[in-house]
């Protein structure tokens, strides 16, 4: 696959946040939110990133849609480097305006991303004015009504005239989804888009996202701390899942392979945390699989494998950084853990205990 076939391509991306410079700032206060991640997102692709708060998944998502500038590495849209286009490189084949429109976001808090003083109709007409300037007001209103009924907000005329506070959480999230889709994007970054919804409404929202993906030819980058949600949306779309820990991608692969054959102990910990409704299956899973409950300070991540301070399987060898290893023959499923290498010295090194 050539580079231009990917909607978005991240190459060895690093995003480091430095403290405000000042008298007391120290070099070691730098937070390495994303530290050396490469990821390609294709057409009609669904990729989910999972991990705990502070693992850098949202920063990576923002970097992928060009709203966060990487400190190092490159981000390209259909082969065009996003930040070169942004900085006014005259050779840019795709103008920055086009790139920004093609990459959209849905926020975690749908209430905060809609203007409380504007009706739904008003908020949704704005993107249409940009993407289809030829339409007149009546045509635009019809398009908005059509979209509202497509996402099940019936009768659309009633909903169009409401203000955000007159909508439920699920309805606001639908409006945010429509607003993103009206830009005709190639990729939507959904940042914890269903986490704030009631459990029973989540699959409804994810089904809707997938249904609209088919109709609008969009890719989704879905970020969540909840593996059940991530596996639902990627599973239905035959997508991939990436597991992040302290700025690094520790496991990446097709969803069913990762769920059925998880390699990284951190992936297994996340699976343990995904609650099981089957009381018979859950019985043998008591007790936390982690040695420490809290995530280490991201300003000062552990050397070597960053998970080694919490990992139940950590050994002396884990103080070195493990390489990325292919789990299967076709190279779709990758993991960064010594346990994936059969003949590594890891297996002979002493277990860590503390």
């Amino acid at each position: 696959m050539s580079e231009t076939d990917h909607v978005v391509s991240l190459d060895d991306v690093r995003v480091h946040f430095e403290p405000e410079s000042g008298l007391f700032a120290r070099d070691d206060d730098v937070v390495k939110a994303v530290d050396g991640i490469s990821l390609d997102i294709g057409e009609n692709d669904v990729v989910a990133l999972v991990g705990e708060s502070g693992c850098g998944k949202s920063t990576l998502g923002k970097t992928a849609i060009g709203t966060q500038r990487p400190t190092e590495g490159s981000v390209s849209y259909r082969g065009q480097d996003i930040w070169e286009a942004r900085d006014g490189d005259s050779d840019a084949e795709i103008p920055y305006e086009t790139i920004r429109r093609s990459l959209q976001i849905i926020h975690q808090d749908p209430g905060a991303s809609l203007n409380p003083n504007k009706t739904v109709l008003h908020s949704l007409m704005v993107p249409l004015k940009l993407t289809e300037p030829d339409l007149n007001t009546f045509d635009r209103r019809d398009r908005v009504h059509e979209m509202l009924s497509r996402v099940g907000m019936e009768p659309p005329k009633d909903y169009a005239n409401r203000y955000p506070h007159q909508l439920s959480g699920g309805e606001r999230q639908r409006v945010a989804l429509i607003r993103a889709l009206l830009m005709n994007p190639d990729l939507i970054f959904a940042d914890e888009a269903v986490s704030a919804l009631d459990v029973s409404l989540r699959i409804d929202m994810m089904d809707l996202m997938l249904e609209l993906q088919d109709q609008f030819n969009t890719s989704f980058l879905f970020v969540s701390h909840n593996l059940s949600n991530a596996s639902y949306i990627t599973g239905k779309a035959d997508g991939r899942i990436g597991v992040m820990y302290l700025g690094e991608l520790v496991e990446l692969g097709p969803i069913d392979e990762v769920i059925q054959n998880p390699q990284h102990p951190y992936t297994k910990a996340l699976m343990w945390a995904a609650p099981n409704l089957n009381p018979d299956a859950a019985e043998d899973t008591t007790g936390t699989p982690l040695r420490k409950i809290d995530v280490p300070d991201p300003r000062n991540p552990p050397a070597g494998c960053r998970f080694h301070t919490r990992c139940p399987n950590a050994r002396e060898a884990c103080k070195q950084t493990p390489p990325e290893t292919d789990v299967d023959a076709d190279g779709d499923h990758k993991v960064a853990c010594y346990r994936a290498i059969d003949d590594h010295e890891y297996w002979d090194s002493p277990e860590l205990s503390d």
Partner: protein, 352 residues
């Protein structure tokens, strides 16, 4: 015989007896009943999971157990609290100073978004000392116990007590608050969505800790959440709230594998779960009811696939189709629900 029929759902040693408890708010559009004539007993030493969607009245139930319903809400009915030793207490018949003594010392609470209940200008340690002082306890003895609690919650006591709230992560704050709520050795801990703002991994870790701590101290825990899978592996019994009242109560295992109410079954089928086949998951049709305008008859009838004229007219009583009085549901067609609404997790097991 008299004693057996007195308690609800086969509870034999109730610590709470809630009878006909309602909470009403007067609104412009009419009277809003956000808790509707609830009858339930809480067994001493059990973990009762209370599950309901947003706007089902679950937070009101939590507040009612502490007689702390926010004004202008009016709590009516009867809530008896039976301490381990001593006379039963009618919670709704206490003076302000009496109820304050019961709260925290006897019945403690951890509420949603509780991390912001710490005063930002005080260290965590100050909060512990202030609590001990306000309740006339010995400070050095109490702080020793605080150390013990904190280390059981995997926190470095010295470091945490010396920190200001903003210096701790969400998960650490929530665990510190849990320790604070247990400081005066209460008999009951009421938790309303205590982990909702945290990562799943931290939620599960805290749940495990709550289970251990509860067992060790013979605590009675009422755990309220919208997240059914979260309490699935924690609670001894589960009560399902719909439209401001319980619609099903039973042992957790039975609720998960053999639920009797159509709503509980729909809720189970709509919950994302790693083991459930993705094609089988179904959202619940329709919307939750408005508190001012709860449907007549069975409140679930507009969304229920089994409903008929009988459900529109008559509010069903709690009943059991198999004589198990510990597991009951409010449904006219309790003997049909299992056949008409299969649980998709069960199907996996049968087909295997």
């Amino acid at each position: 015989m008299q004693a057996e029929t007195k308690h609800k759902f086969d509870v034999d040693d109730p610590i709470f007896e809630v009878r006909n408890a309602s909470v009403t708010f007067d609104m412009e559009r009419g009277e809003s009943k956000v808790m509707d004539s609830i009858d339930i007993d809480v067994d001493r030493g059990e973990i009762l999971g209370v599950v309901g969607e947003s706007g089902s009245g679950k937070s009101m139930f939590a507040s009612a157990l502490l007689d702390a319903v926010p004004k202008p809400g009016v709590l009516s009915g009867e809530i008896q609290y039976y301490p381990e030793d001593g006379e039963p207490v009618d919670l709704l018949d206490q003076s302000e100073s009496e109820i304050k003594e019961i709260r925290w010392e006897e019945i403690s609470m951890v509420f949603q978004g509780a991390m912001s209940s710490f005063n930002p200008t005080m260290t965590i340690g100050d909060h512990f000392e202030e609590t001990l002082q306000a309740h006339g306890r010995d400070i050095s003895e109490g702080m020793e116990y605080a150390d013990e609690l904190l280390s059981e919650l995997y926190l470095e006591a010295d470091q945490v007590l010396g920190s200001y709230p903003h210096e701790l992560s969400g998960g650490m704050k929530q665990r510190a608050l849990l320790a604070l709520s247990l400081l005066l050795e209460p008999e009951v801990l009421v938790m309303d969505e205590p982990t909702a703002a945290l990562d799943l991994l931290m939620q599960r870790s805290i749940i495990e800790l709550i289970r251990d701590i509860g067992e060790e101290r013979d605590l009675t825990i009422v755990f309220i959440t919208h997240d059914l899978p979260l309490v699935a592996n924690l609670a001894d019994r589960i009560g399902v709230l719909y439209a401001f009242e319980f619609v099903e109560v039973g042992p957790a295992y039975d609720i998960l594998t053999d639920s009797k109410h159509p709503y509980t079954r729909a809720l189970l089928n709509s919950t994302p779960n790693l083991d459930t086949p993705r094609e089988e998951m179904r959202p619940i049709e329709g919307k939750s009811p408005d508190p001012v305008n709860v449907p007549a008859g069975c409140s679930y009838h507009p969304r229920c696939p089994l409903s008929d004229e009988n459900c529109v007219q008559n509010d069903p009583p709690f009943q059991s189709d198999d004589g198990d009085t510990d597991h009951q549901a409010k449904c006219h067609y309790i003997e049909q629900t299992r056949r008409e609404i299969p649980l998709n997790l069960q199907e996996v097991e049968y087909s295997e």
